[in-house]
Symmetry: C2
Subunit: 477 residues, 2 copies
């Protein structure tokens, strides 16, 4: 209650003493701190957005009509909530769709079905499937060490497992299994690849995500087994006594060629629209398996609610622009298209929300050493929400290509990712996984940070070095 | 460590003082308490069974060739582990199979796919599916109150939710949604029924299980939505503003007619085989979605390991018989067949394990008032494992029909069911959900209890009243 006392006081001042005095003048708007404090306990707009898009649209596979419905829904929401200059900026992109639900059947020595999903850019087995012996590799390095041609006619399986981390850093350790194993296996003759899901849960829900094949290597079918199924396959190897393990794999994704996608943008117009805007990014598309609640409906919900909150404290100096990027999952197509279309329009600073809806615990920027005053002001302002000041150099999220391309200012608001890779790219990415209290903490912190940045009169980035984009943003989200 | 001190002492006595004295006589077998204590920390046979059958066989849908493979696997395991009189006692049963994976698509106003699985004894929609408006009912009572004919041409949806209980008692509250809603809806003209899963998790894994249709009511298609999908459907009703919600439901189960199933039995033969045996029951079949680890691979693992442990303490007075019943899930076919075939052969006492693999916390019998000495001896013997003495009248599990039909003695070893209905009848019923330490606690308690009962020279049941079987055992498991 302590936090909202000032707001309540302001509200009580606004109640006219009925009929005894002339109507009071409209109260001054609450200040930024009051608005952020209020968001912590009472924000409903972020929930409304993510509940709405997951209920009324659901999954939004990049480049498909479902993504287009998601864009229309989001643009309407922005308009209804008072954003200006709402637009759906189209671009064309190569579109891959998953086809029928995947099937992985062990034919022998222990016949049974395993839960599998195709990886993005997987080739098709055709409806008849591929039947072959499975060879197991512990890591990508082990697979890399296999002699040329040694996988001819086989299905490669890579068993490397992800462990749980708060900062999500194990994505860099476990992710390559998904990003590159299929390409390496294909280059050595494998007819297909299956991997242990890059994820930390133990449910029968495979984690999909993009894979890739090097130039000159013909794409093969590639899928992820759920973690319980991967564990079962590994037990089969132990129990088979050297007998070959034969799998029939049926994955039927297909390429649709070029289709239309788009980036939805909207603005809270600043008092001085000629100043470079503050850009808040998220992505609107999701993999087809889940409803894109934590990846990344929550991110769009958080940034939109924060932008609206900033305006509650009075029109900001700079324009605040939200970018609901399209087609992030399948190759950052929206991020790239946005940068290509707007590279000549400077951005003051970029921030992205794309790591679920659990609480923010650390603030980083790429101007800590070059603009320490601003960095410290932000750090001090978010400390009351339990957010520490980090010493990492912010790299920005996947949809901030334009800011990196401009060598611009970046802020990272690090979320607690302890649960994130339980849900990431699975059917289980649904609304029930979002904790409304933690979602509101995100909105509060974002409100505070964006409010400060949008009212910053001087240039935000004053010469600090730009990090290169981390590898997970190189088309392999 | 305290618990195993006597065992270690016994072992150390057995080590001959090498070369100084003549070879010692073989040590006496450990006593029952020592064997049970040892099982608590070291039993590996229960794990070996449940790991083996889930890895080498997997799902074991009743009446199918997979169940037959499960029986062959289990019979081989029993023989290899020293059971005698191992047999697969066949019977014929009407067999229902689930067909292709279910599909539930909302066509409007919010098009998207929901995760669904057919319920046992569901009719088929045909591959083309059924498309109809969905009408929502909160409870079976609300559905029952709907006027005759009022569901004509509609799909009924029942939203009643299960909450988590340690003793599983909410199955009686939530279960009727699955057991009878489809039949009631069909009797009022509904073309199909979908229900919220009878389960306590929030994953995209529907909980199947048997449903039923009253005599004279033609079976309709019936499915369970996963809990996140059910919640989504309910949000759609809130957001639709009265617009009809249209679902296309595709469920393609079919009846195979009569097929062969069987009960696998095996014995630890007692010193006096003419005495009525102690019957330990579980079931070997599982629904097709999961691998039947907690339902009920674990149960068979526990009873088999316990029977073997009892023998470690010396040949018991009475024969201990394990009954791995077939086709429990789809209508207790194995339990009924076993009773029909063996009703004239008295059973001394029956116990069943069919509630997962989490720890036992309460002991009940149906001879507490009529044979208080025995009841108290058992209670005192299991107290060291954290098991309290209950005052309920044991009703026995679903596969103990023969004991109920004989008005015989029953013991219930109540397991902690807090997690059970997260997994029950879902794809997530897999080995990783079993906690090896809690599994061993089950084996230890069972060893102690079965050891006492198998060495009881006098009649166990001496006149206490028989409870009727609870409704969940009436073909509705």
């Amino acid at each position: 209650m302590n936090r909202i006392t000032p707001v309540l006081a302001a509200l009580s001042l606004a109640v006219p003493a009925a009929a005894k005095t002339p109507p009071a003048a409209p109260p001054p708007p609450p200040n930024l701190e009051q608005v952020a404090d209020e968001a912590l306990v009472r924000d409903e707009r972020a929930w409304d957005f993510v509940e709405g898009i997951t209920t009324e649209v659901g999954q939004r596979q990049a480049g498909t009509e479902a993504e287009a419905r998601g864009r229309a829904w989001a643009a309407a929401w922005l308009k209804q909530n008072g954003f200006r200059n709402v637009a759906d900026e189209h671009y064309m992109m190569p579109t891959w769709v998953p086809g029928e639900p995947g099937r992985a059947e062990i034919l022998g020595p222990f016949p049974q079905s395993l839960a599998v999903a195709p990886l993005g850019d997987s080739a098709s087995t055709g409806p008849e499937g591929i039947t072959a012996e499975v060879l197991m590799f512990r890591t990508v390095a082990d697979l890399q060490a296999a002699p040329a041609g040694s996988l001819a006619g086989r299905i490669a399986y890579v068993s490397n497992a992800m462990t749980r981390t708060q900062d999500g850093s194990q994505y860099g350790f476990a992710g390559p299994t998904r990003w590159v194993a299929a390409g390496i296996a294909a280059s050595k003759g494998a007819v297909a690849t299956v991997i242990k899901s890059v994820g930390t849960d133990s449910h029968r829900n495979p984690h999909t995500g993009g894979t890739s094949f090097p130039a000159g290597v013909k794409p093969t079918p590639a899928g992820a087994l759920s973690n319980p199924d991967a564990a079962n396959l590994e037990r089969m190897f132990k129990r088979a006594g050297g007998k070959p393990i034969t799998m029939k794999l049926v994955l039927t994704p297909r390429d649709l060629g070029e289709t239309q996608s788009g980036n939805v943008v909207g603005e809270i117009v600043g008092r001085n629209p000629s100043l470079p805007p503050v850009l808040l990014a998220c992505h609107l598309d999701s993999w087809w398996l889940g409803t894109g609640a934590v990846d990344d409906g929550a991110g769009c919900a958080i940034i939109a609610a924060a932008a609206l909150n900033v305006a509650k404290a009075g029109q900001p100096l700079r324009t605040v622009r939200v970018l609901f990027a399209g087609a992030e999952e399948t190759g950052l197509w929206g991020s790239k298209a946005y940068s290509a279309a707007h590279l000549g329009e400077p951005i003051a600073v970029g921030i992205e929300s794309d790591f679920g809806a659990d609480r923010i615990w650390r603030f980083d920027s790429n101007f800590r050493t070059t603009n320490p005053d601003l960095h410290k002001r932000i750090a001090a302002a978010v400390a009351r929400f339990g957010v520490s000041a980090g010493s990492e150099v912010a790299g920005g999220g996947a949809d901030l290509n334009i800011v990196r391309d401009q060598n611009g200012a970046l802020v990272d608001l690090q979320q607690d990712g302890t649960r994130y890779f339980d849900l990431h790219h699975t059917p289980d990415d649904t609304l029930d996984k979002i904790d409304p209290a933690q979602l509101r903490q995100n909105v509060a912190v974002w409100t505070q940070v964006v409010g400060i940045l949008a009212n910053e009169g001087t240039a935000i980035l004053t010469g600090s070095p730009m990090p290169s984009a981390p590898p997970i943003m190189d088309g392999k989200k």
